[in-house]
Symmetry: C2
Subunit: 422 residues, 2 copies
């Protein structure tokens, strides 16, 4: 199927079906949506064998086409991963229904009751790469928030996604939900993505998750809003008054706990007044964790084995055990560096000073500003949002982790007794 070319009008047809489904979804009760989620979780466990068989086809094709071991690992499903997937769906099921929430409300002087009520965004077009677990997460989040979703996964995971898509759709039929509430794009054709991106009248938002070039292309071509998910060039700033032990633990955790993700630290800034007291010990701890240190002149002198940073390092998302280090003269200089080189994703300060914490919180404008904790906490699960469909680096509509709420909008509901305007 992957190599067929779809009929002209395929994208428009799929998007139109999705729009029709989206008109029915806001009327569903939370119980109906939860029944679907429970059914998906049950089918995932029941159909493990056929999912794994389909995944095997992708893995063989991936090996033959020379995918890296890391890519193959992202692609691979196994019993444990399928069990985690089912558990994640049940966690989403346990979250409160966002649709119908009264965000704010009250009575106007003329007696008119005005409520701002949460409603679904509508139709979500979700573009993602090789991890098949994302297919299930995204569908679960979209349906729970009352949106219909068009899933366009990567070519590498096509067989796995088709098997998972079949489960999602079977559960729609079993539970009597609109049959086109979840649709999978069966043709991993790049031109076809462009056709979907031109359907601005049928699709309410596109969420691309993948490399920078994919996201740039989507932003360029999309005729509907896009939730972007760009680089995380995250900083830890060790302030003058930082506790050495705390600084060490936070820097090591921010850099090393999972270096390949967007909320891992890429740069360390150190207040000059803390340099001698804190830096040597932090440097040793980082090197103990096999981190390559790319240092400015002043920090280099105190870290045997470190190398000199280049100008580009400070604006590079290494996604590896590499850390840029720079000494600054003040908190203001740290803030200035973060504004210049950061990506407004996640930035942390380690400090014992109340005033420094307050200043950093106010002056740094990132999706998460962290005081005395690891940058790794900027994550939907860790912040209490439940699962996330991505982490937005936009300021508009959704910032940081996108969970159920970020997949909604609102409408005003006005209830009167015949009020007219004078």
């Amino acid at each position: 199927m992957a190599d067929c070319i779809p009929d002209p009008g395929y994208a428009k047809k799929i998007a139109g079906q999705s729009r029709n489904a989206a008109q029915q979804l806001p009327s569903l009760t939370g119980s109906q949506k939860n029944a679907w989620l429970e059914q998906v979780a049950a089918l995932l466990l029941e159909r493990q064998d056929s999912i794994l068989q389909a995944n095997q086809l992708d893995l063989i094709a991936g090996e033959n086409s020379g995918l890296s071991p890391a890519m193959l690992d992202r692609l691979r499903l196994c019993q444990q991963r399928i069990e985690s997937l089912a558990a994640a769906v049940r966690q989403i099921c346990a979250l409160p229904d966002p649709v119908g929430e009264v965000i704010s409300g009250g009575r106007r002087p003329n007696g008119l009751q005005v409520n701002r009520v949460r409603v679904p965004l509508g139709v979500v077009f979700f573009i993602f790469e090789s991890r098949p677990n994302v297919t299930i997460d995204a569908a679960a989040l979209c349906i729970k928030s009352g949106n219909s979703v068009i899933l366009r996964g990567g070519r590498e995971a096509l067989h796995s996604n088709l098997a998972l898509g079949e489960i999602l759709q079977e559960a729609l039929r079993t539970e009597g939900l609109p049959e086109h509430a979840v649709q999978l794009v069966e043709f991993p054709d790049r031109a076809l993505v462009g056709e979907f991106l031109s359907c601005g009248d049928l699709i309410d938002v596109t969420i691309p998750r993948g490399g920078k070039s994919l996201i740039e292309r989507v932003c360029r071509e999309a005729t509907m809003p896009v939730i972007r998910h760009y680089d995380g060039i995250c900083h830890v700033f060790i302030d003058e008054s930082a506790d050495v032990q705390m600084a060490k633990e936070i820097v090591v955790n921010s850099k090393c706990q999972r270096p390949g993700v967007c909320n891992a630290a890429e740069s360390l800034l150190i207040h000059r007044a803390a340099l001698d007291r804190v830096w040597p010990e932090v440097a040793v701890a980082l090197q103990h964790h096999k981190v390559e240190l790319r240092c400015c002149q002043d920090s280099l002198a105190l870290a045997p084995g470190a190398v000199a940073a280049t100008a580009e390092d400070y604006s590079t998302e290494h996604l590896a055990l590499i850390l840029n280090v720079k000494v600054v003269d003040s908190l203001e200089q740290a803030v200035q560096h973060i504004r210049e080189f950061g990506s407004a994703h996640t930035d942390a300060i380690v400090t014992q000073s109340f005033a420094a914490a307050e200043a950093f919180e106010t002056l740094v404008d990132s999706s998460a500003v962290v005081v005395n904790a690891s940058t790794r906490f900027n994550d939907g699960g860790e912040l209490g949002l439940g699962a996330e469909i991505g982490i937005s680096t936009d300021r508009f509509h959704a910032r940081g982790p996108c969970g159920l709420q970020e997949l909604t909008t609102y409408k005003y509901v006005l209830r009167g007794t015949g009020q007219t305007r004078g």
Copy 2:
């Protein structure tokens, strides 16, 4: 000045200055912003003569270039209008500061305090047409919400806007606010707008207020998010159980109280079961207010003096004393008509039935869904938002009236005691 051509790089320079100002604005206290607003209000009253002189130049030029009487009226300032402007600024002053509001917050199981805190969007590029009062409203809303703003008004109002812009900037200097927090584009050149729209790295949002072709052009060219403000094709649906008197008052008010605005009704839908009982009386009341009725066959028969509607009427924003009328067989058919012909702006039902009100509220997905009140209440002031910078017909980020909150985004502030991720 209007006929000079700006230096190349003018838009980028202005946008860069605005970005710098935007970095300083979040640190201002509410009192500092309010002092600026008070100063603006005071200067408006103090400088009435010079404002009126500048306005006179625009009015003379407008008459010479053949502006319609309606356009000239929109352009005209007078003592009373300037006093209203100053009063509007003081009303914005009295609103709570949105910046720093903790939207939600709590402590995570690991002790981490997670707050979602409201912050400004950043740099607003605001494009508007001939009404000079909008200049003051927009600047006041942007500064109060911590944003810097680039104001690009219409050519017709250039002298008035320059006089008002001088007041805005003098107040910035007097109160020690960043000098580029409010900037006025002094060249009403269309190509220049395109240069601003290409500054997606410096401008956070563009808000165009004006005709459809302006908004379409902005959406096509903008490299940043846009808050759109399209048509209002608003409906009133008279349900089977509607009270005749209430129906009459609501329909007349929705259509006639101010026919030229986006939340005025354009179409009336009548449940067939209420036709004989309600329609003749409503029709007479509308005709008494000089409304031209464009009717379907069934409603035409009961309204002497009405004319037959054409197919296009139902999707036309008349903005005049013209009302389309159509009989429907059920609430569902009314909803279907609204979905097909409406613009998801403002739609109202008149009903005595609890079940019908609930169904209408759920099934109609417009920025405002109104039960037993006039469509004219979908307005920032009427809904309690204070002033508005526009009414969004988008679903994304901001829906309906855009006040102070809609000019903000949020960041997560995490406060810990050394937490790391396991």
